[in-house]
Symmetry: C2
Subunit: 351 residues, 2 copies
């Protein structure tokens, strides 16, 4: 062995291993069987002699051996991959959500495959299909479809599933569900506005997706406004541009008369639009109107004297979803599949 006649460049730093090294070669070079190597790799060192272990370890280093995930998963039927589908990755919400998941999944040695459904039901179906073909161990979805029927393939494949952020009708109890406290937060907000003397609430929304978290918010606001005798207008921005929004706001101001008006934006990106429209109109908050927005991080704090916010906690949503999913994968279903993550009211100077 030490007088190996064949030229090899194992010593070269930039070694160019043409052929992929397999467990078989490791076994051969180490002078043991593949079984033993496999056992070593999986920490299954029942009563393996220390000498053997060291030998194997040495050979693995020398040969630069790297186990093939595909072959492994084929036998063990577990990929240690979690599939994640979000509505729109360019959104800050999605990126924080992902951060949260990652923090729980990575330490447990799970990898994440991240797909974007573009808030589109068909695209989402394809994403699901792709991930099922990858045989992912679990799936976390910010759903773009409203009815659970569309997710049957996942259930049939026996793949643990968690929904985050949005609501899906007829979701079976075996599916994990993690959202913000949309309803409660909206109700409290309405009561606060009324307490502050606002008599007219203008909701700015954009319900591009039927499953949007904006829906329960609108419900809560509607009910609470009715109960408290507040006037309510809903501006759905779908399609409209900033100028359209500016017009709408101006019209509303006119009709408000003596009533104090508060504009409520239902998500971070909408706040930007409201600010742009207000700038066109020369509106100032809270001088001319009150302003409050749902949001995902605190940039609004630095706008003007600070915008009043209801802050979601996407990172926690992601973390909890990841934890619950891992529990399911381990066949230890969590006690409660309905997880609600509280939002936080950040006071500003726009009310």
């Amino acid at each position: 062995m030490s007088s190996d006649p064949i030229r090899h460049d194992r010593h070269t730093k930039a070694m160019n291993s043409r052929k992929t090294i397999t467990i078989k070669e490791v076994a051969k070079v180490a002078g043991v069987s593949v079984t033993t190597v496999s056992r070593y790799l999986n920490g299954n060192l029942g009563k393996m002699s220390v000498a053997t272990q060291q030998k194997i370890q040495q050979v693995i280093r020398d040969l630069n051996y790297r186990p093939s995930a595909a072959a492994k998963s084929m036998r063990s039927d577990s990929t240690h991959i979690i599939g994640v589908i979000v509505g729109d990755i360019s959104n800050v919400f999605a990126s924080m959500l992902f951060t949260g998941m990652y923090k729980t999944l990575q330490p447990r040695n799970y990898s994440v495959m991240l797909l974007n459904a573009d808030n589109d039901a068909d695209a989402e179906r394809e994403c699901v299909e792709k991930l099922l073909q990858q045989n992912v161990d679990g799936l976390i979805i910010q759903p773009s479809r409203g009815n659970f029927e569309d997710y049957y393939p996942i259930v049939n494949a026996h793949t643990p599933l968690a929904f985050v952020d949005r609501y899906v009708d007829a979701t079976p109890s075996s599916v994990i569900h993690v959202t913000s406290d949309n309803y409660e937060a909206s109700r409290r907000m309405c009561e606060e506005l009324a307490g502050k003397g606002y008599r007219h609430i203008v909701v700015v929304s954009t319900t591009t997706v039927g499953t949007s978290a904006q829906i329960p918010r609108i419900h809560a606001i509607t009910e609470t406004a009715r109960r408290l005798g507040l006037r309510l207008s809903v501006l759905d921005l779908a399609g409209g541009d900033d100028a359209w929004l500016a017009d709408a706001l101006r019209a509303i101001r006119t009709t408000s008369g003596e009533d104090r008006t508060a504009v409520v934006s239902l998500m971070g990106p909408l706040l930007l639009r409201v600010l742009a429209a207000s700038r066109m109109l020369g509106l100032e908050f809270p001088r001319d109107m009150g302003l409050l927005s749902f949001d995902d991080w605190e940039w609004g704090e630095y706008v003007g004297q600070g915008i009043d916010l209801i802050l979601q906690d996407p990172e926690t949503i992601g973390r909890r979803a990841g934890e619950a999913l891992l529990a399911m994968i381990r066949k230890q279903p969590p006690d409660d599949n309905e997880i609600v993550v509280p939002t936080k009211r950040i006071p500003g100077r726009s009310l």
Copy 2:
């Protein structure tokens, strides 16, 4: 067949396929060989009779067959997965970068495995290892290490590689490299500040990573400032909090004397810190000092009367990296491996 005596629930919507369906079963049920099914699946319908095609398609639907990516990749030695490693996913930059990559990769039917290196060299090494075990078809990395030696395993595995955003010493020309025009943009900015009458530049940086894009920016600013005879201070925030920054800024103001001072923040997150510190001090821009920041999206536009920005285009960086990488995977190396994506100067009212 129509009088199948065995009870099955193929008609049930929520069918519970216990066993995984393989290509073999499809073949059997369709009354053809596995080869034929495989050919059908891969669109390799040389002279396959239309009848056979339809039959197979039908059976695939009926059985709810889903090809196994692992088995496929094992034979074909290609996973159609691209590994992506970023420094910090919670960063807006990373999320836009990812968006850009995704837009080129997804239509070409590549999936993305996204890992976070936490701006840490060791963590990054593990990420690389993991992705190589997954046998990814290509790798896009926002590098956390400064020397190319550390990336040899990737080269040895013959995996196409692209670096984005940051610089790695001694990178071979076979590796793609996509960055902003950091140097040029910084030089132009200095000249602009001088032209506007600023005599003192205060750079706020945080060089947590040795490979940071902030380095070339600092270089360019240093050189240009010297050439133009501007005074220059560099505040490295590493470790310091907002109060520390406030103190530093106050001290600098004192020493500035009659010189007009401009604060230059080298990345978006730092701008937040500068704003927080200024608020503590009661500083206003541009009344007391000028302010300009590098950033990744235009939120600064809405702060005060609008912050002067140098906007990066992370989405384009990601897109270009994805395109070049795909070209390499197809053995069509792009003409130029050094891709520079221009930044954009967004005028504000803080200078």
